[in-house]
C-alpha cells in the first residue's frame, strides 16, 4: 500500500465503516432488546389468557357436556376457534378425548395425559405453543380433564430475521457508499497537491530546469503549499547554479581557445611566407596545437562530468541508434586510414540517460580502437542484452585488432592521462583523457566499463549499462 491516497482513503473509510457498524449493532441490539421485551409481555399475557380460558372452559364445558352431550364441545372449538388461535378440548378422567374432534394437537393430548395422571394444573413445555390442562369436576361429580392450547406468540409478534438482516444490510450499504464517496473526495483533496509537487519535481529531475510548482496551491495556505514554495526556491537555486557552471565552462573554453585560434592563423601566415623547407617543422607545431585543443576539450568535459552538471538531463534513449551513428562517423574517419568500423550485432535496447554523454563515451572508445587497430582490419562493435546478478544490462563491446594492452595495465586504462607505453601512444595521437571520460560518463549512468585482451589479439572494451524499463509498451 504505497500510495498515500490509498492509505488515507482506506483508513478514513475503515473508520467510518467501523463506526457505522458499531452504531448499527447498537441500534440493532436495542431494537432486538425491545422486541424481546415486547414478546415476553405478550407471552405472559397469552399465558394469563390461556389460564383464564382454561378456567372458564373447565367450568362451562363439563356442564354443557353433561347436559347436551359431545356435540356441544364442538361449539367451544368453533367459538374459540373463531379467534383463530385457541383450541379447547375436554377429556375424560383417563385422558381420552370426549369430543371426537379430528386432529387434536398432540401437545394438548400430552398435557391432558399428564393432568390425568397427577391432577392439578399441568403446563406443556413447548415454548412455541402454550398448552394447559387441569382436572375439573362436572355437576354430576364426574372428573374431567379440560385442556386448552394456543400459539405462544401471535403471528405479528414472531421474530422474523430476514427483514432485520435486510434493513441492516441496506443501512450498511448506504453508509459505506456515502462514506466511500466522502472519503474519496477527502483523500483526493489531500493528495492532489502532492501529485502536483511530484510532477514538478520529476520535470526538474529529468532536466527541465524551469519546472516550478507554481502558485496554484497558494490559496491553500497549508503545509503542503509551503512545501511547494520551498520546492520552487530550491529549483531556482539549482537552475542558477547550473547556469553559472555552464557559463564558467564556456568562458574557460573561450579563454583557452582564443590564443589557439590566433596561433593557428599565425601558423598559416608563417606557412604562406616561408619556404617549404620549414614545412615539417610547421607540421609538428600544427599537430601539437591540435593535441592541445583536444586536451582542452576533454578536460572541460571531464570537469563538467565531475561536477555532475550533466546529470540532470535524462531521457529514454535508443542505444542501437547511438551505436549506429557512432559507428558510421568513426567508419568515415577510419576509412581515410585504411581501416574500418563495423557493427556486427545490434539489438534494440533502451536505457535512460544523457544521449550526448553516452555518445561521447562510446566515441572515445571507438576512436581509440581505430587508432590502434592494424591497417586493413575492422573494429567490431556489438550491442547485446546480457543477464547478470543485478539485472539486465545492455553490453556494448568494441574489439580492435591492435597490439592489445599488458594485463597489469588493463584497469589503469581508464585513469586520466594514463599511457600504456609513452612513445607509441604519443605518436598515434589521443590525449589520455578520452577513456577517463568514458569511465566517468558510464558510471554516471550506473554502468561500468572494462577492458580485456581478446584471445586472438587485440583489445576488447565492454561498456555495460543497466536497462531501465521497457519502452516498447
Amino acid at each position: 500500500m504505497r500510495s498515500l491516497f490509498i492509505k488515507i482513503l482506506l483508513s478514513f473509510w475503515l473508520a467510518m465503516a467501523l463506526t457505522s457498524i458499531a452504531y448499527s449493532i447498537l441500534a440493532l441490539s436495542t431494537q432486538l432488546g425491545q422486541g424481546s421485551k415486547l414478546r415476553l409481555n405478550v407471552l405472559a399475557e397469552r399465558r394469563q389468557l390461556a389460564g383464564a380460558m382454561l378456567a372458564m372452559f373447565g367450568r362451562t364445558a363439563p356442564v354443557s357436556y353433561e347436559r347436551e352431550g359431545a356435540s356441544s364441545l364442538g361449539r367451544y372449538n368453533g367459538k374459540t376457534a373463531g379467534s383463530g388461535e385457541t383450541q379447547a378440548y375436554l377429556f375424560d378422567a383417563a385422558g381420552r378425548p370426549l369430543a371426537p374432534d379430528k386432529g387434536i394437537p398432540a401437545l394438548i393430548q400430552a398435557v391432558a395425559a399428564e393432568a390425568a395422571l397427577s391432577g392439578g394444573l399441568k403446563s406443556g413445555k413447548n415454548t412455541k405453543y402454550i398448552s394447559l390442562a387441569q382436572s375439573v369436576t362436572g355437576p354430576s361429580g364426574r372428573v374431567y380433564i379440560a385442556a386448552v392450547g394456543m400459539e405462544a406468540l401471535p403471528s405479528w409478534a414472531v421474530q422474523h430475521w430476514q427483514p432485520i438482516v435486510r434493513s441492516f444490510g441496506i443501512r450498511m450499504a448506504i453508509s459505506l457508499l456515502f462514506g466511500g464517496i466522502v472519503c474519496y473526495v477527502l483523500a483526493w483533496w489531500l493528495t492532489a497537491p502532492i501529485r502536483r509537487l511530484r510532477a514538478a519535481a520529476q520535470r526538474l529531475a529529468s532536466g527541465d530546469l524551469s519546472a516550478r510548482v507554481g502558485a496554484a496551491d497558494g490559496k491553500r495556505g497549508d503545509e503542503v503549499a509551503d512545501l511547494g514554495l520551498d520546492l520552487d526556491m530550491m529549483a531556482e537555486r539549482i537552475e542558477a547554479l547550473l547556469e553559472s557552471q555552464k557559463r564558467l565552462v564556456r568562458d574557460v573554453s573561450h579563454e583557452l581557445r582564443s590564443p589557439l585560434a590566433r596561433f593557428n592563423v599565425a601558423l598559416g601566415l608563417a606557412r604562406q611566407h616561408c619556404t617549404s623547407a620549414a614545412d615539417s617543422y610547421f607540421d609538428r607545431i600544427e599537430r601539437d596545437a591540435g593535441r592541445l585543443n583536444e586536451l582542452i576539450g576533454e578536460l572541460l568535459t571531464l570537469s563538467l562530468l565531475e561536477s555532475g552538471a550533466e546529470q540532470l538531463v535524462r531521457q529514454p534513449l535508443e542505444l542501437d541508434l547511438i551505436v549506429a551513428k557512432v559507428a558510421q562517423d568513426a567508419n568515415f574517419e577510419a576509412e581515410s586510414r585504411g581501416k574500418n568500423v563495423a557493427v556486427i550485432a545490434c539489438e534494440p535496447l533502451f536505457v535512460t540517460g544523457n544521449g550526448e554523454l553516452l555518445r561521447q563515451a562510446l566515441e572515445n572508445v571507438v576512436r581509440n580502437a581505430v587508432r590502434y587497430t592494424r591497417e586493413g582490419t575492422a573494429v567490431e562493435i556489438s550491442l547485446r542484452e546480457v543477464r547478470r546478478e543485478g539485472g539486465e544490462f545492455a553490453a556494448i563491446t568494441v574489439r580492435d585488432f591492435g597490439p592489445g594492452v599488458p594485463e597489469a595495465a588493463l584497469d589503469k586504462l581508464f585513469l586520466p592521462f594514463y599511457r600504456v607505453a609513452d612513445a607509441r601512444d604519443r605518436q598515434s595521437g589521443g590525449t589520455g583523457i578520452g577513456l577517463a571520460i568514458t569511465d566517468r560518463a558510464v558510471r554516471l549512468h550506473k554502468g561500468m566499463v572494462a577492458a580485456r585482451n581478446a584471445t586472438d589479439g587485440g583489445l576488447v572494451v565492454e561498456i555495460r549499462l543497466p536497462i531501465t524499463g521497457d519502452f516498447t509498451g
Binding site: 590566433r262 593557428n264 601566415l269 572541460l300 568535459t301
Partner: protein
C-alpha cells in the same frame, strides 16, 4: 566579388586573419563590435561575412538575425568548438556554414571559396534567362534564386537553395550526404559534421509537408536524402 567583412572582438585574431586572407587575394575589412557590424553588412556589399558567435554587447546570433532580416549576404559563423547548440542554432537561423575555433585557416579559405563559387554561379546564367526547375508544387527560379511552393514564395538561405536545387534535379533518387555537401556547401563532408543535416531540417520546416504523404525530403539512414515525388504526379 571578394570583399569580406570580419566581425570579431578578438583584435589580434582579426589582424592575423586580415593578413592571411589578403595574401589569399581577398579584400578584408574588420569590425570589432556586433552592433556596428550589423549596420556595416547591410550598408555595404560584401561577398561574405565572417561572424563570431561570442561577441560582447549584442551577441553573434542577434547580429545574424538582424542581417538576415534584410539581406541574403552569405554568413559564415565562428563558434566555440564542441558547442553543438551554437552550431545548430546558427545554421537554423540562417548562417550558411560554420567553423569552430580554433580552425585551420586553410579550411576557412576553402569554405570562403565554396561560397564564392555558389553565389558566382547565379549571375553567370544571364539575368534575362528565366530558367526554372519545377518538381510537383515547388518551382525554383534559378536566376533570381527564389522559390515558390504552391505559388507561395518561401524564404531560403543561399545554402538551402543550393541544397534544394540538387535534391530536385535528382528528385526521386537518393543523394549521399557527401555529395550534398560538395554541391551545396562546396566542400567535403567531415566526420561528425552535422551541417547538412541541420540545413535539411531547416529546409523541411520551411517547405512544409507534402499533403498527407509526409516529408518532402526523406531520410535514408546511413546513406543520404532524396526528394520524394508526389505519387499524384506523372
Amino acid at each position: 566579388m571578394n570583399r569580406i567583412l570580419v566581425i570579431d572582438d578578438d583584435i589580434d585574431l582579426c589582424e592575423l586573419l586580415s593578413d592571411y586572407l589578403t595574401t589569399e587575394g581577398f579584400i578584408v575589412e574588420v569590425v570589432h563590435d556586433g552592433e556596428q557590424g550589423a549596420v556595416q553588412v547591410l550598408a555595404g556589399n560584401y561577398a561574405l561575412v565572417i561572424l563570431d558567435a561570442m561577441l560582447p554587447g549584442i551577441n553573434g546570433f542577434e547580429v545574424l538575425r538582424r542581417v538576415r532580416a534584410a539581406s541574403a549576404t552569405p554568413i559564415l559563423m565562428l563558434t566555440a568548438r564542441g558547442d553543438d547548440v551554437d552550431r545548430i542554432v546558427g545554421l537554423e537561423m540562417g548562417a550558411d556554414d560554420y567553423l569552430a575555433k580554433p580552425f585551420n585557416p586553410r579550411e576557412l579559405v576553402a569554405r570562403i571559396r565554396a561560397v564564392q563559387r555558389r553565389t558566382a554561379a547565379a549571375p553567370a546564367t544571364a539575368p534575362a534567362s528565366t530558367e526554372t526547375l519545377s518538381v510537383g508544387d515547388v518551382t525554383l527560379d534559378l536566376g533570381s534564386r527564389t522559390v515558390l511552393v504552391g505559388g507561395v514564395p518561401v524564404e531560403l538561405t543561399s545554402v538551402e537553395f543550393s541544397l534544394l536545387e540538387v535534391l530536385l534535379r535528382l528528385a526521386g533518387q537518393v543523394v549521399s550526404r557527401e555529395e550534398l555537401s560538395l554541391q551545396a556547401l562546396g566542400r567535403e563532408l567531415n566526420a561528425y559534421d552535422r551541417s547538412i543535416d541541420v540545413h535539411v531540417s531547416s529546409l523541411r520546416r520551411k517547405l512544409g509537408a507534402l499533403g498527407e504523404e509526409g516529408e518532402r525530403i526523406k531520410t535514408v539512414r546511413g546513406v543520404g536524402y532524396f526528394y520524394a515525388r508526389s505519387s499524384a504526379m506523372p
